[in-house]
């Protein structure tokens, strides 16, 4: 899974994970990687060729692409 989306709430992550799965995208909930945030929230790892930004819940914090080097590239940042 090459994308990861972080959220302001666990509920928002859960709703987005459900929407992605409904759209046929492989997605799973997980703790936010420490490198992305000091908060202990929930993120969604998901696959596919594009980041499906339109599927994100309104409380999305950011969407990243996971590079082959293991680094994350920010593709989108929501309202703080």
């Amino acid at each position: 899974m090459n994308f990861v989306a972080t959220f302001h709430t666990h509920l928002s992550a859960m709703l987005t994970c459900g929407s992605l799965q409904k759209a046929g995208v492989t997605a799973k909930l997980a703790p936010v990687p420490r490198v992305l945030s000091s908060s202990c929230g929930t993120c969604v790892f998901y696959g596919g060729a594009e980041p499906h930004l339109e599927t994100m819940d309104r409380d999305v914090e950011a969407v990243y692409r996971r590079e082959e080097t293991g680094d994350y590239t920010c593709l989108f940042r929501g309202e703080e």
Binding site: M1, P31, S38, D59, R66
Partner: protein
């Protein structure tokens, strides 16, 4: 995704667990009460006492209660987290995620903790010290977390937090700095116990430095007693729980090495009673409430240190909860549960948490 090495995945958390366990043993060796080297609930309760919000066990002869002291450990934890968060540009003031609801939950979490006699961190330290009553508490803690998870899965949310001003985020760390001045200067209007657990404490500077190191590591590793079990159940992720286990092992080994004592029994454990039902129910309240809050009391201190004002309000709720618990006879003593309406408070706490859990559930599709 490439597989993380064991060291990368668990190294920092296990190190943090070892340092926290070692710190608890060390601070006990240097004066903190036995099996209470580190306890967020007890220490916030002591701070409430020092500010005269409660004076449990007041002894007219010496003129103080038994749990009144400004614990530098709390100050060190917060300021350690603040320092690292500022250095790493992770100090981001935010808040507004149902602060009043969090305050109410925090009051009941503290009441539950003082019925059991310890926060989740002290529960783990007590287990490491051989106190089997804490194993009963752990069962209750897990039950409480599982109840909280049921509501999380059904759409419970306290809504999102928003960015706030730097002044708002710095208010809580500044309050901690003010407490540091008060404990160092010790003016007469601040009360320090002359007997009981409040009178037993490690030297100020040692406690402050050790706690600051723990605060730095806890900020970096996101150590959380509740998060460990929650993540294991929700995501089959065992990172946080590895620190939990490291604390228990370190405290056991440490107590044996420095001669603090390690006796496996239910009876005559330091600052602990053996009323199993109340040990269990107290920690159910703590586990459930902490899942709703998004972290254990230690984690709330660290988040408050990072500028999270919802966590700062939560810690304020803990302090008020401690005063309520002692002023109304809800807190247990080393020999028995409190003399006040303990059942009413704990059962009432479950009702309040149930109402909050249901009232804050979003409508889920499907």
């Amino acid at each position: 995704m490439e597989k993380e090495s064991f060291f990368k995945r668990y190294g920092l958390l296990i190190l943090t667990g070892i340092v926290v366990g070692g710190a608890a043993v060390l601070l006990t060796k240097f004066g903190n009460p036995a099996n209470m080297g580190f306890c967020i609930a007890c220490f916030l309760r002591d701070i409430a006492g020092a500010l005269n919000f409660q004076r449990a066990g007041f002894d007219a002869e010496v003129g103080t209660g038994i749990v009144q002291y400004i614990r530098p450990e709390i100050i060190g934890l917060v300021l350690g987290a603040t320092l690292l968060a500022v250095i790493r540009k992770e100090f981001r003031p935010k808040g507004g995620s149902s602060p009043m609801v969090r305050f109410v939950i925090a009051v009941f979490v503290m009441i539950g903790a003082l019925v059991f006699l310890g926060c989740p961190l002290r529960m783990v330290i007590r287990i490491g010290g051989g106190d089997l009553n804490a194993v009963v508490g752990l069962v209750g803690f897990v039950i409480g977390i599982l109840i909280g998870i049921v509501f999380l899965k059904r759409g419970f949310s306290l809504k999102r937090a928003y960015r706030q001003s730097m002044a708002e985020g710095l208010a809580f760390p500044a309050l901690m700095a003010a407490l540091l001045v008060l404990v160092a200067v010790a003016p007469s209007f601040i009360i320090f116990s002359k007997s009981g657990p409040g009178s037993q404490h490690a030297p100020l500077l040692l406690a402050l430095i050790v706690a600051a190191v723990v605060g730095v590591l806890a900020q970096r590793s996101r150590l959380c007693m509740v998060g460990g079990i929650r993540d294991a159940v929700l995501f089959k992720d065992f990172r946080l729980i590895s620190a939990f286990l490291a604390i228990i092992v370190t405290v056991m080994v440490g107590n044996l090495l420095v001669g603090n004592g390690l006796t496996f029994s239910f009876l005559e454990q330091p600052v602990a009673h053996n009323e199993a039902l109340w040990n269990l129910l107290g920690m159910v309240l703590v586990g459930w409430g902490s899942v709703l809050l998004g972290g254990c009391p230690l984690r709330q201190l660290i988040l408050a240190g990072e500028g999270n004002t919802d966590s700062a309000v939560t810690v304020t709720g803990f302090i008020v909860g401690a005063a309520v618990a002692h002023n109304f006879g809800l807190a247990s003593s080393a020999t028995d549960i409190g003399t006040g309406p303990v059942a009413l408070a704990v059962i009432g706490g479950f009702v309040v948490l149930a109402v909050i859990s249901v009232a804050n559930m979003a409508k889920m599709e499907g």
